[in-house]
Symmetry: C2
Subunit: 399 residues, 2 copies
């Protein structure tokens, strides 16, 4: 089974999905900030939500209304997170669902609501009411919707794939560039597929794909109250319903992981102020949990992130992060590679060409590989370099 990316693909690439966006005036800097994803047919829908104990109002709405694993639309705004807004915020999220439902002629319970932006401010529901009618839905509208959900992101994140020999397509969009950390670091991700699929299997497939992708991305260690990943499956590909344990299920899982990984890497590479993507692979771990925590801890180390920014092959910081990660290690067995150049072998410094190492670190993608030589488990995590620009962006976000 070969997963093929669709060039220029987006969330409206699967059959029967329409999207669009408009400027409601919610973002201080202007631009598209209110959007809708709509399926022509009712969908099987599942989601994953922030682990932060502070949950934004739209997350509360989604968790309640996705419990029946059904939905037909998503309405989203950027500029205001509708978080830490209490009962009034819950009312605003419901009002937003109602406005979208009216616009689409469906029940509010079938509309999922998401918001991203500043925490602790009331949602300007009047602006949303005044603009929702201007959202023009089209089968090409995924690109607009991808625009409408971004905040400090410098580019949209869109992807779609087909599986050779299968009938279905999966597309997705995401946002997130600061407050991003494992366990759905601030991100919104909407996924759509025209596959006919069993809801229970879809939920498992989503969890697995997110574990391998978004949960392996770290930008700054912060986790937002709004993190949400949603997938809608409308069945319009008219395939036989995909169920756990089948060959089609495996293909679907692979394809979904591919879309999520593509979006996750684009989020990491577009981290606030980032100039490059850091990819950390940990191999030879005793357990997958060890490999995951080691890869994430290294990718998230501020000292390593700063060193990568300065093209400084200071591998001691990689080892220091590995050592505090909690993963089972034997210091005398560790091998460390920068793009296949060995920096450390069996726990001791290797002599390496420092200029070549610096040149490797000047590339857009910096691949780091750690071999623990303890077992057979591996994991990959993604992060970005830490720059003065990150500080500048985050020093003056609300002001």
């Amino acid at each position: 089974m070969k997963v093929e990316p669709i060039p220029g693909g987006t969330i409206t690439s699967p059959k029967g999905f329409l999207a669009g966006a408009t400027c409601a005036g919610l973002k201080v800097k202007g631009g598209l900030d209110l959007g809708i994803l709509y399926s022509e047919a009712p969908c099987v829908a599942v989601g994953l939500f922030t682990t932060n104990r502070i949950k934004a109002a739209p997350v509360v709405w989604c968790q309640k209304h996705i419990a029946n694993k059904k939905a037909q639309a998503i309405v989203v705004n950027a500029g205001c997170a509708n978080a830490c807004t209490g009962e009034l915020g819950l009312g605003d999220a419901a009002a937003m669902a109602n406005l979208a439902a009216e616009r689409l002629g469906i029940a509010p319970e079938d509309v999922l609501v998401t918001s991203t932006g500043v925490i602790g401010e009331r949602l300007p529901i009047g602006l949303i009411a005044g603009s929702i009618g201007k959202v023009a839905l089209s089968p090409e509208g995924g690109h607009e919707l991808a625009q409408a959900i971004i905040t400090t992101d410098t580019c949209t994140k869109e992807a779609a794939v087909v599986v050779e020999g299968s009938k279905f397509t999966i597309g997705g969009i995401a946002k997130g560039s600061g407050m991003v950390h494992p366990n759905l670091g601030t991100l919104l991700c909407f996924l759509a597929t025209d596959a006919a699929i069993d809801a229970r299997f879809l939920e498992n497939a989503l969890r697995e794909a997110v574990d391998l992708s978004f949960n392996m991305v770290t930008i700054d260690g912060d986790t937002s109250p709004n993190d949400t990943v949603l997938i809608l499956a409308n069945g319009m590909a008219r395939n036989e319903i995909i169920r756990e344990g089948t060959r089609e299920a495996e293909a679907f899982g692979q394809a979904l992981t591919e879309v999520c990984t593509c979006l996750a890497k684009r989020i990491a590479g577009d981290g606030e102020g980032a100039t490059k993507l850091i990819e950390v692979t940990v191999e030879g771990a005793l357990t997958v949990a060890d490999a995951r925590v080691a890869a994430r801890t290294i990718a998230g180390s501020p000292l390593l992130k700063a060193a990568v920014h300065g093209c400084d092959p200071n591998w001691g910081r990689i080892v220091a992060a590995l050592g505090r990660s909690g993963a089972e290690i034997d210091a005398s067995r560790i091998d460390l590679f920068l793009n296949n150049m060995c920096l450390m072998a069996e726990g001791l410094p290797s002599s390496f060409d420092r200029d070549r190492a610096k040149a490797t670190m000047a590339e857009d993608e910096v691949p780091i590989r750690v071999c623990l030589n303890m077992g057979d488990s591996a994991a990959t995590a993604w992060g970005c370099d830490l720059t003065a620009e990150y500080v500048a962006i985050n020093s003056e976000y609300t002001t």
Copy 2:
């Protein structure tokens, strides 16, 4: 019992402690980098060491030779951490102990060894051998020793106290400004007292003091393989031996916590690139563990640190960090204060004077207080703002 700071006090303030330092040429930027602390009488000695699974050679040496709870001297170098150096590194640490022991006329087993600096480079033992004879010991040498242990620190950290009505003095010095995080984030701290004291009680008192001070400091979330806190007690105050459960024990514990807290706050305020100290107090937690993890998570949030740098009262980031800390919270009960100005009450935004809030955040110390209103436990953590200077320092450390 009143704990009184000694103006200009340092590690040689207690009776019978001598110290000194010299330039061995280990630091790239020059300056004092090799020093000794020596007690005229043998000492009760205990220590706490890094939780990083990668332990530097000097840490391995100290853990072995402090097991008998006795020592008489500490030798320390900056510029090279002697970490990730394998068997050869262990030999170098032993050689360093031998050189100091010869210089002092005591047994190598009574010399504790510590190193700080770049990871993964062999200790230039020849430079140490050539310079150790130049270390001139004196009762005022604590200031020199404080100089010799710093790396990216911009100032020395020194403190000493006496307790009204008691005979003993406690003094200490510390270093640490990057790779600092709870569980002895990269720091060296040497403490000395002339108190006669039971070794077992001293160990408990040190653990408690460190838990309330160094373990509540976070600069960048990284933990070094070299973190070491040592205390030497030489009994020269000729007091009755201090034992657990006595009034003197309580006084000693208070005084030790005072010295450690003073040093810890100076480390936080001198974090790499920092321009201000952030003090986060969490009150009304269900458990002390909850209060501690909440305070540390908030103080360590890169987004909050950047916001403090920009004097941006973006309290949503405080709440987001609190929410992901793992502490038991009820969102609708949280009160949040910036230097006693209420930013949030019962989980909802308060209207506050934004200009006054910004002015408060422009001070050298920014006090944040969170009341969870769940229980009676409290904790305080210290951190610093995140600046472009931090990135600059850490982009070019080895190169």
